[in-house]
Symmetry: D2
Subunit: 177 residues, 4 copies
């Protein structure tokens, strides 16, 4: 079977988007990026900081509202349809619900060959990178570092704490069928 | 029937993305934006300036390659699936193929209630805005201003030459069922 | 005498930065842009939303703290030094203090040939563009539209309400000595 | 004496801008960032890719033209004036001319207490990060990694190959008088 979808799951500032760009550079076929951050940017401004949308607390904790969930569910169906229509897709997501988030993706991607990848980064390193980026609420990285991996099953895990994104991408690419 | 998809078609620098943000602000329900520019950003860097992807000439003319077309076709299926799964979607596209581009969208969106909107802008005004933006190859706006509307059938046309995006968005919103 | 500095003053979303890019395109010599927005980006994140830095209220009103003022004063001296060292500079500022803001610039730019330009935009149009941009706190445009021009004396005024940035830039360029 | 200026010198993708943001976060006083990348953005689009401005070859090599040099020299005077007027400034530059570039800064900053910092990153790691960023011409990182340090004298050197930006910033902050 041929891998149609790569799902990367990791906390904020764990290095997922850098790995996505490296995967796009090293994989021989063209792969589309589907990032949760791009979904959020595609939502109305009013949902980007509200109770019905996404709400980032002063400590970096994230709450998700009902309208956000509806659009997110539709997005997963859209990603699956793109893959079924012939695109290769790299998903870059943050499983705030752990195993439950994975199950939602599994239902949407049913019948497609998926490579599940955990992107780990030690909480301290992720928190340091969050400060270096300067565009995230401090605390998100630390609060998500472990949370998002709870109960999630992977084909492969990479760790960006001491490894460059490009090297992680090469390890993932070697597993793409 | 209820409008599930709004398709905005217009040339580069005609003001589509501003209208999208205004639509998201004035429509009572949350609408997702699906922009051709975001699709391009989601592609590998290698496709963003190449014969197999998208190629912008020194005069601003745009050529589309086979691999780009494959991903673009999958994207249309993905947008349709998002709408079928319950999302309201505003598409922001540039119909370089005129009527043929519209037919591709019509096939993908089959069975959905779609509002087709032409976004006009006089070539001179679009070319002036292209310079003011500073992030586009000069010439795209002028070369696309008429081209993208050839043979396309609309429910509604707006013209940003002398009308603010917000006013255009209100005219469109009034037609959303 | 030769114009070394063009100072554009106008409210948020009045179209100043588009005029700056058009000026850079139409003027025969290279001109450097010096924008208050770039100064703010160059400040520590902690000053960008705090009592000692800049504080944008829920209604879009802006308060400036002591540490912000210190860096802003140093920035004006830096801009003046760049012009004295041979650069041509277009300043893009928001005179929240009206005539007093202009006096601060006059003192800093003493001895340099300066072209003072007021950038007007009707409050309603600026507020509409603020929504279309999607990256500003709603209300800033309306609250600043008149405020920033109080007591300020110009060599030239342009109005973007019904005129493209490029045309405004050409009117300004015609006055550059 | 009190440190008024920190000059960071390092090749493309060596991690300078991340260190700047961390310095702004850890230093008790507010520090302004003055980055060569921001200077380039402030120049006319026509200088950003031309013989008289900056020219990036297909292999990532960088050529600098006469008009670019004139504006760059004025910028150094502007940075010095900001520091003399009371701002603390972190400069983030790429010494393409090695020791000669440092001498230009030394002349401009004459009389100010400056902390000179070399930002090292192994060529392979910088090249990998260049791919992960996705917004740089491949080859710049590798070609500049050693070149920019030739003949330059530092108060302190940091190496981002295996050390987070935040830790580098703390080492620098400990040397700020």
């Amino acid at each position: 079977m041929t891998t149609r979808v790569i799902v990367l799951n990791g906390g904020s500032s764990s290095g997922k988007s850098g790995i996505v760009r490296c995967l796009q550079a090293v994989l021989p076929d063209p792969w589309l990026a589907a990032a949760i951050d791009s979904l959020i940017e595609a939502m109305p401004a009013s949902l980007q900081e509200s109770a019905s949308g996404i709400d980032v607390g002063a400590d970096g904790s994230v709450s998700i509202g009902a309208e956000f969930r509806t659009l997110e569910a539709a997005w997963r169906e859209g990603v699956a349809a793109m893959a079924r229509a012939g695109a290769r897709v790299v998903v870059d997501d943050v499983f705030l619900g752990g195993a439950e988030s994975q199950q939602r993706w599994q239902r949407a991607l049913d019948g497609l060959d998926v490579l599940w990848v955990g992107v780990r980064c030690a909480g301290g390193a992720a928190a340091a990178r969050e400060i270096a980026r300067g565009d995230r609420v401090p605390g998100m990285a630390a609060s998500q570092a472990d949370l998002v991996h709870r109960g999630v099953v992977y084909d492969l895990e990479v760790d960006t704490t001491h490894t460059e994104s490009l090297e992680c991408a090469r390890a993932i690419a070697a597993r793409v069928g």
